[in-house]
Amino acid sequence: MNMLSLYDYIFYFLAFVVIGSSFVVVFSRNIIYSAFALLFTFFGVAGFYVLLSADFLAITQLLIYVGGILVLLLFGVMLTNKVVDVDIKSSTIKTLPASIISALLAGLLCGIFYVTNWYTVPTNPELLNNTTAIAIGHAFISTWILPFEVASVVLLVAMLGAVIIARREKGPEVN
């Protein structure tokens, strides 16, 4: 058994943070707790990215997930639960079949991952210490130019769509 390096310890710490906090996300009865636990999950994933030498992605993860999506989700929680109403708990349904399915999925995936003989390429350490931002920038404006442009349009459409949908006047009462 090899000696565990600092890198490994940090990995295990982050794995604990990610899995533990996501357990809180999933099993907490209080939706606010879930949302805050999600924050730690995202931080942990960002830490993974750092470990994987993906500096640009780590920053992006923090900016977009923590700064954007999580805040959006929190807003959603605030706006869709009556604040005066203390009951912002989120009930669950059919926990047993869901547990079985999830456990099966996890077991199956882990099994597959374990038995697979992964093909890995040794990486130039020089490359690992450099920033990825330059390479990503070049890729964006050369090979990936079309997806990049489409992405901008999609963002615009999503923004407009979100505004229009959220602003829509209350329609005829269903139910």
Partner: protein, 684 residues
């Protein structure tokens, strides 16, 4: 004072009224009452500039023609271009003063006449665009701009006649004026095109120069005559000559100051100006046509004027008659006298119209006061006895009437006398004796109907004494123009001698241009014509005084001393009277012929459209409808049947499978994951 400065002044004169138009049309609502002041100030400045140009031109550049041309459009090569430009010769200088003076005084008059009108500022805006277009006609040195401004004048005339477009008669009159003018303008356009196709230039000078070199349109004198007559058609339309004179009397539906400005002094004179401007290119044949058109117009409208009772209609027909005089004067070769009559007529006819406006204004106020909307304020039978109540209007009106009748000491006497002498000379030289005979008759008729108008309006007794007492003189804005015009109707403005104009500045300034028609088969060279005029001067004066005196005497005998009962004469010749009061049935004649023909053609074409073209279209439509019906049935029965069958079967299976669809996302996801797991297990 240089030529450049004069040109700059002329350009300013041209565009200042346009500025006035733009200001008033865009900011008129805000200016409201002040719009008249804006219009008055701007037109007043053009009057000042015109006076400067007038005096400078006649004193320092007497024989020069100041000309400025620039190329507007260049058709690829430098050979074919359209040049625009302005020129100032003596004729232009005189006309500038006439137009801006009349326009200024009419602006002044309108301030109180149009007071309270709902479109007050727009009225002044339209006066502005009219002045702009009229000045454009005067200043231009080419046919192209002449035509453009000619149409603009027609447009502004249309707008001003239709100023009270809520009245159907006004709207119709505006349309009539516009359409009738178009008829003449088509002729003018064709004429210009004939000249263009030969000379490839629109410039007056270049066309004249080309002609003098012996170049003829399509190498024939006949085409030149045709071009001249066609261009004259424009004048026929604009100056209301026979047979297109019918629009002018109707145009009296416009406000009275407009009638004074446009339909008496300036716009209708544009036709005369056009004839004078292109005078050199008329062949002898064309001139005879022009002379006869003029004389026929003068006679017809003078006879009609005798039987009219509307004060403005009488004046309108008198205008047509006097325009006929001018055209006749030009046609017989009396270039200067014809143009001179234009200038003198502008002042006294504008005065007459403004005087009638003053009378109508007074009548209208009294009638309005009594809530009487049945009595026509323009009918001279409802007037009478206004002399004491409106002294300024009366005395000025008297001066104008004397002038138009050709009584000595007036300007009208000078010009009319010269025209008559010209006709006598012409008949001496060529033997067209009908022209002087009719011309003298018309002079007598003019004196008669004008004095009839004067006596019925101002003398005698009013029908209702109480109402007469309420009539009072018009405000100073209206009387001032009258006084100025009256002053201008005296001889001393034009000539030092009360009997002959040939010593005055006017005859010095305006000289008959040399004809440029090659191998001129003109009946008389200029010298012999001048001599003949001189020779006939005494005869003409004697005869014209006699007929004018006779006319005035008859008028007084009939309407003042009432020795002759006009009713009796009317009853003796009922058909003649009806013929005259119905204006020689011109409108009815056009209704039954030209308009009827147009309408019939339209109807036939409409019928063709409805029956034949629509028939074909409908036939195609019916056929395709039947086909469509057939295929529709097939569609419904067979195709839809198949589709429905498919749908039903799918619906049936769907009904079974529907139970799986719980509508809950979670269950869908669960199914998906279970499916994925099963795939993993089975295809491991």
């Amino acid at each position: 004072m240089t030529e450049t400065l004069l040109l700059q002044f002329a350009t300013a004169i041209l565009f200042i009224p346009l500025v006035s138009f733009l200001i008033l049309i865009f900011f008129g609502k805000k200016l409201s009452k002040k719009s008249s002041l804006v219009g008055l100030t701007l037109i007043g400045s053009t009057l000042l500039l015109s006076l400067i140009i007038f005096f400078t031109k006649l004193n320092f550049f007497h024989d020069a023609t100041i000309d400025y041309t620039f190329t507007w459009v260049n058709f690829g090569s430098s050979e074919i271009t359209i040049d625009l430009g302005i020129m100032i010769d003596n004729m232009t200088a005189v006309m500038l003063v006439v137009v801006t003076l009349v326009s200024f005084l009419v602006h002044l008059f309108s301030i109180s006449y149009m007071e309270g009108d709902i479109r007050y500022s727009r009225y002044f805006a339209f006066l502005g665009i009219f002045s702009f277009s009229m000045l454009g006609i005067i200043l231009t040195n080419n046919f192209f701009m002449m035509y453009v401004f000619w149409e603009l004048v027609g447009l502004s005339s249309y707008l001003l006649i239709g100023h009270w477009y809520e009245k159907t008669s006004a709207a119709n009159a505006a349309k009539k004026a516009f359409i009738v003018n178009r008829v003449g303008d088509i002729g003018m356009f064709t004429g210009i095109m004939i000249l263009w196709s030969t000379f490839a230039t629109f410039s007056f000078d270049e066309v004249f120069h080309g002609l003098s070199l012996g170049i003829l349109p399509f190498d024939s004198t006949a085409w030149l005559t045709a071009a001249g007559i066609l261009i004259f058609c424009g004048a026929v339309g604009k100056s209301a000559q026979f047979p297109l004179h019918v629009w002018l009397p109707d145009a009296m539906e416009g406000p009275t100051p407009v009638s004074a400005l446009i339909h008496a002094a300036t716009m209708v004179a544009a036709g005369v100006y056009l004839v004078a401007r292109v005078f050199p290119l008329f062949t002898a044949d064309a001139l005879i046509v022009i002379a006869y058109i003029g004389v026929i117009t003068a006679f017809i409208s003078a006879t009609i004027a005798m039987a009219q009772n509307d004060i403005k209609k009488v004046l309108a027909y008198s205008t047509v008659s006097q325009l006929g005089y001018m055209i006749m004067g030009l046609g017989v070769g009396g270039f200067t006298s014809g143009f001179f009559h234009l200038v003198t007529h502008a002042s006294f006819k504008a005065g007459l119209f403004l005087g009638s406006g003053s009378v109508i204004y007074a009548m209208h106020h009294v009638l309005h006061h009594h809530n009487d909307h049945h009595t026509d304020p323009q009918d001279i039978r409802n007037m009478g006895g206004l002399k004491k109540k409106m002294p300024i209007t009366f005395w000025t009106f008297l001066v104008f009437t004397l002038a138009i009748s050709g009584v000595p000491l007036t300007s009208g006497f000078l010009s009319k006398d010269d025209i008559l002498a010209g006709t006598l000379a012409f008949s001496d030289l060529t033997g067209h004796t009908l022209i002087p005979i009719i011309a003298f008759t018309v002079a007598g008729l003019t004196a008669f109907y004008m004095f009839r108008l004067l006596i019925l309006t101002f003398f005698g007794t009013h029908k209702d004494e109480n109402r007469l007492n309420e009539i009072h003189e018009s405000p100073w804005q209206m009387t001032t123009p009258l006084i100025i015009f009256a002053a201008l109707s005296f001889f001393f403005f034009y000539s030092p001698s009360p009997t002959s104009a040939s010593d005055g500045w006017f005859y010095n300034a305006i000289e008959k241009p040399e004809s440029v028609v090659p191998e001129n088969v003109s009946a008389a060279s200029i010298e012999s014509f001048e001599e003949a005029v001189h020779h006939n001067h005494g005869t003409a004066m004697f005869l014209s005084l006699t007929v004018a005196g006779l006319g005035i005497l008859t008028a007084f005998v009939t309407y003042y001393w009432k020795k002759i009962n006009p009713e009796k004469i009317m009853n003796t010749f009922p058909s003649l009277h009806r013929f005259l009061s119905m204006k020689w049935y011109f409108d009815e004649f056009y209704d039954r012929t030209v308009i009827w023909f147009t309408m019939m053609t339209a109807k036939v074409l409409a019928w063709f459209d409805f029956k034949i073209i629509d028939g074909i279209v409908n036939g195609v439509a019916t056929v395709s409808r039947i086909t469509a019906n057939g295929s529709g049935k097939f569609d419904n029965a067979v195709v839809d049947g198949l589709v429905n069958l498919t749908a039903y079967s799918i619906g049936f299976f769907g009904l079974i499978l529907r139970t799986v669809q719980t509508g809950k996302v979670q269950s869908y996801l669960a199914f998906a994951i279970v499916g994925a797991l099963m795939i993993f297990f089975f295809f491991n």
